[in-house]
Symmetry: C2
Subunit: 255 residues, 2 copies
């Protein structure tokens, strides 16, 4: 079993996150590398997973952005989450019969398809990987709860501030230290459908935030001028991911 270092691993961003928070052992890292054999890519707008699909498989996003959405018969849609590099797209998909939501590429992306059999098989050989997956699922659930709280109980300004704040925090994790600018390849329509507002109102609110000197943007390039005020406006703190409890890190390594 050859040593796998983050630099040459096909899915660097995920590794970076796992190493920081879960500290997986060599076996788990090697197992993870096995999962990424089926490397693929997709163009912007391409649908990786369609609502109602039965061909279930997990996916590991290596580069680019994607989103998960659900659509109503009359065209209204809700974006459930934005998927960033290093995100694993429902690790629990192997127990699901049909998908309830679509996954669509926003930018050009690279990803690995992980068929359920491979996932099961790998889990058997490196049970510590199961802890990693549960950890990711738990972080993900916390993120979804924050999203629900934002959409259900925050005002327009707060919701949008929260979304920007969340994305910035998640992007920070991909680098060693916070960058001074962010590339957010999302249109205002996407923002609207993510936070449950109309496009027009998103535009207005963003202009307001810009006028107040909280953010600055041209095109898809964003700058957060006052992290303090943005965070305060968002009301919710983004407190995931959290490190795995210490006792489990040992358990994960012991296997």
């Amino acid at each position: 079993m050859s040593a796998v270092t983050p630099a040459d691993h096909p899915c660097d961003p995920l590794l970076r996150r796992l190493r920081r928070f879960v500290d997986p052992g060599a076996d788990e890292l090697a197992a993870l590398a096995l999962l990424t054999r089926d490397r693929r890519q997709a163009a912007p707008g391409q649908c990786l997973l369609r609502e109602g699909d039965t061909g279930r498989a997990a996916m590991l996003l290596c580069s680019g952005w994607a989103l998960r959405q659900r659509t109503l018969a009359d065209g209204r849609r809700q974006i459930m989450e934005f998927l960033l590099p290093g995100d694993m797209c429902d690790p629990g998909s192997f127990v699901t019969r049909r998908t309830d939501s679509s996954v669509v590429a926003i930018t050009a992306i690279q990803y690995s398809r992980v068929p359920p059999e491979l996932l099961m098989e790998t889990l058997r050989h490196a049970p510590g990987l199961g802890v990693c997956l549960w950890w990711m699922a738990a972080q993900h659930a916390a993120m979804m709860r924050s999203h629900l709280l934002a959409v259900g109980r925050l005002h327009a300004r707060e919701r949008i501030a929260y979304l920007v704040w969340e994305l910035a925090c998640r992007l920070d994790l991909l680098h060693d230290r916070p960058p001074q600018g962010y590339r957010l390849p999302i249109s205002q329509e996407l923002i609207a459908d993510a936070v449950g507002l109309s496009v027009v109102h998103v535009s207005r609110t963003l202009c307001a935030l810009e006028r107040e000197g909280i953010v600055h943007r041209h095109g898809h390039h964003w700058q957060i001028l006052s992290r303090r005020r943005l965070r305060a406006l968002a009301k919710l703190s983004v407190d995931w991911p959290q490190p795995l409890p210490g006792s489990l890190q040992q358990a994960s390594r012991r296997h």
Copy 2:
């Protein structure tokens, strides 16, 4: 290892659901029984888990209703979900350091506390139980996504219709055939905080639904007069839980 039949099992409703959809083997059933040793009860309003708690443990609700909520500093709150008998309250809690949401009893409840060590230990002895847990987590995630879609993109009437419809569908699973009336022990304030509306508007909307002959209620006793119209109004279909894919049922039994 003694045979465990649903009737004498301490957590009947969960078993009923698992047997219908996952068809666990004898080992898994026995393992499940081990998890329910620490039986407890709580009075209405009692807090089982507080936002920010570090004492992480899974919980298995055996009877009564509870809810999971998150609160903002200014008092606004969002109810994430209602927990019904047979629900397992975050099975992935063993990988979490601090809780992001509170769990509160609505009625008097009986539940089992499952400490993380016990859960891990049990998983080692009955790995097929892991599949059951992943299955539950996946159903749960689908439910959360429906909830998010409802709160983000449905109108007041639709949201409330959806909530009632969801609860009815979940309660149906606890019985062999749909009952003609439901006991929903939730105040209008709870409904409001679950779907992201004001209490007053919930009252108005419910009265309207009643005037239109879609539902009928006195106190906590509800009747759905037109399932068809309620479902149509809810826009979202409740299509979970889904049976576990066949291949995995074998995998689960083989262990």
